[in-house]
Symmetry: D2
Subunit: 267 residues, 4 copies
């Protein structure tokens, strides 16, 4: 059988940002949008590193119903302001078919988190939008299952698609969800869709994040998603894995060198 | 923190079927509803073993978008006929919030499959129905994550809830998704919600299914979900793991003995 | 290729104990032999349940070099006394080729623990003894790797061999090393060698041990290895998983019923 | 408790090769020593990249007793010739305490493979030699278990020790034993012992090997072990994962760039 994922991709351009080319594209920002003040401070930080895409989810899938569930739709105006003021593309997680209508025109990139990689109704609905979709692998996905989930989106007509490697569940407790580094070259052998790597959720700890980022670039990732918070110690979620300004800018400096070493560059 | 799952449960009665009591409740039927003829033939088989709940999904979440996706809503009339003619409760998988409206009044039990264990929108919406909900664990869930997903349903007000142990992903290739047998006693230590065990998806092969069923009863399960098909070799999905009439009736005979040995019984 | 493990086995008789027949054979005793007083007290307990094989390792493989490493060869005289006084067969773990010479004539059953399943020098050397050998699976073994390790022993000429299912490593924290219950029927499909199940190391906790034992018997195990200690709270290793007298005798009573339900019996 | 592994290490010099310094040390050669002709051809290749350590095991632990078990002790003379003619250090796997006597004076580096990480008799015996010991993690080891196995060696007095990250078993089939990339920084947070990465066994396929090597260097490894064979298609073991001359030299060229990007160098 011939799958669409085998042909799709190559270099994707989306509102002026090109994925899969020489430049490695960063998607950075807080684990969750918490307030306008926090969003502005985070945007200021990522602009210093010339990042062009701001992640700041307003809906958060949380293991416990009693954990912070995200700021909700009132965050959309904040995202719009940030997009305008800082000339940034915006990216949020979408958890449900019914959220798409209010998100698709207000936000650029809609991502599907690990928990929803096989939420096929959601995948099909995103296949009908014009947004750039970023699909993360589930915590116990095989590479074939991951590509077939991508196929659900492609089949509906949307090939603005990034595949995001984000770690797998393991008995190994060092990383929260160890990065399956081999998927980067292995995906590139199977598809031309650009590959993103989530270095924050795979590492789970600030001290490991930069190493996952370096390894991912060395292994050929086209894009990096990373959590950056202006004051991580006060974050409402994932406090341990969000980089502060100094950590983020220091990491970016090192990553530029690795990118050059593999014939890539970072803005 | 006190969770609702710690208190909820005990013996649940739903339209004349009692879960969590001395009787072990069976939920049996084909992997997917394929046709009226198939449904009738399957219902005939399970009635011979006095089973009271008929499983026959009309929507099938499939890894590939090109695989059989289920018969869809036209199956609802077939289910209604079966329910009436054979005096069976019916059970189907629900994959999406938007399917609930058409299912909740036509079907008794709505189940959440492994892929959607953390589809929180779906869990919340099911928490607002009056249906009996059966929640299966995801393939890489911890027991705590499983119970917190149950909490999403309980928190919305629906405590007609069965927890279904269905296997975990492993490197071990013998079983498709090996049964985490220890979860049965471990769940009982943490909650009074009745426990179901899916012996078909955990085994993945007809030759292993009866052993998983025996082990589950020995370990204390309150209910068993099992796939039965009148002619498995022609099944549109999961042909290897569906029991035929002879295999099913033979297994039921053996299971009655195990049930008695642990002070339980089977109708 | 035809492997020896495909043909070997059937009913094995070893010094009056028959494995693989109608009777389920128990191997019970402390995690480690600690003193003569402890060994006698443990032997007294297991005799009450008519157990015929006493486990009491004198060499303990421990993750840390600073943990209790076993009583060593001075335990051999204690074992001999127990064997004589209580008419019990004895079983200990062997970790090294160089231990075989002093163990083979003093002890009946030599077992290979999970850590040494692929210590091929040890397997070959045991294949040259006349002892009954019990081989446990490694924590991340496939069933094929396990059978091929058994082949190393058979190939050297010793077919007094028990295969012991003892759990696999998993991300699931409920059981220490969850029992791969499907291996019991799956091994029986591949070999006639009798199957033992270690219900203590797979459970890792006293509250789970009896459930693993019931499930293992329901799934067809020929033998059970279980840790019993006269005073577990003072045990030098694995305090949480050793049953005390009351727990052990209560479990045995329940297991007799399950054994009968599957057409087996327990002395 | 204070462990020896917390203090041990730093820069280790062994017969003129320094581990843990600025230079990244390569250990390269065939999966197994097959013949003098093959060993010479392999040595010629690795010399072209200025590699100083030649791996060429003479004893091979194999899952099946019917697979090629290594050339055995007659390979020692070949290794000695290679060492002399090419001025290379030599490295072989040691599987058993009883092999140490014949290896320790003929070979420089003795390594413990995944299967023997918890063969404590072997670890203790190696702790009494003066050889450089390389310890690979077992396929389902935690980082703590790995460090405690290292402790067994250190405790006996040998601190010429390299820790080798070599992949873990996973359900993910892309890589044979996916590389746990996070262990590299995590080990460096816990010990000063130099870290090696086995990029061949973790990748399992020639097309993935160079990416694992790049990622490992980016993440901070001090050393790389890699399989190189003059004619991999004729190799007696692991044919798919051994690089040929062209693949190896091409990889080395790329690795030099990554090493420079992280402030390291390669001879």
């Amino acid at each position: 059988m011939n799958y669409l994922y085998e042909k799709a991709g190559g270099k994707i351009s989306y509102r002026g940002v090109r994925f899969g080319g020489k430049k490695i594209v960063f998607i950075a920002g807080p684990c969750a949008l918490e307030s306008e003040e926090q969003a502005i401070a985070a945007a200021e930080i990522i602009k210093k590193a010339s990042v062009k895409i701001f992640r700041a989810p307003i809906f958060k899938p949380r293991t416990s119903p009693y954990s912070f569930q995200g700021i909700g739709t009132k965050g959309l105006n904040i995202l719009e302001k940030i997009a305008d003021s800082y000339r940034l593309l915006t990216a949020v997680e979408v958890m449900d078919v019914n959220q798409i209508a209010e998100l698709e025109n207000m936000v650029d990139i809609l991502w599907v988190g690990a928990r929803n990689m096989q939420n096929y109704s959601l995948l099909k609905a995103l296949g009908k939008t014009r947004n750039l979709v970023l699909l993360k692998n589930s915590l116990c996905s095989t590479i074939e299952e991951f590509l077939l989930s991508a196929e659900y989106i492609l089949k509906e007509g949307n090939s603005n698609l990034l595949l995001c490697v984000r770690g797998l569940r393991s008995f190994d407790s060092v990383a929260r969800f160890p990065l399956q580094i081999e998927w980067i070259p292995a995906l590139k052998q199977r598809t031309k869709l650009p590959i993103c790597t989530d270095v924050s959720h795979s590492a789970g700890d600030v001290s490991i994040v930069p190493f996952n980022a370096k390894a991912a670039i060395a292994a050929g990732t086209d894009s990096i998603m990373v959590e950056v918070h202006p004051w991580p110690e006060k974050a409402l979620s994932d406090a341990n894995q969000q980089l502060n300004e100094e950590q983020f800018l220091s990491m970016m400096k090192e990553l530029r060198k690795i990118a050059n070493a593999v014939g890539r560059c970072i803005d």
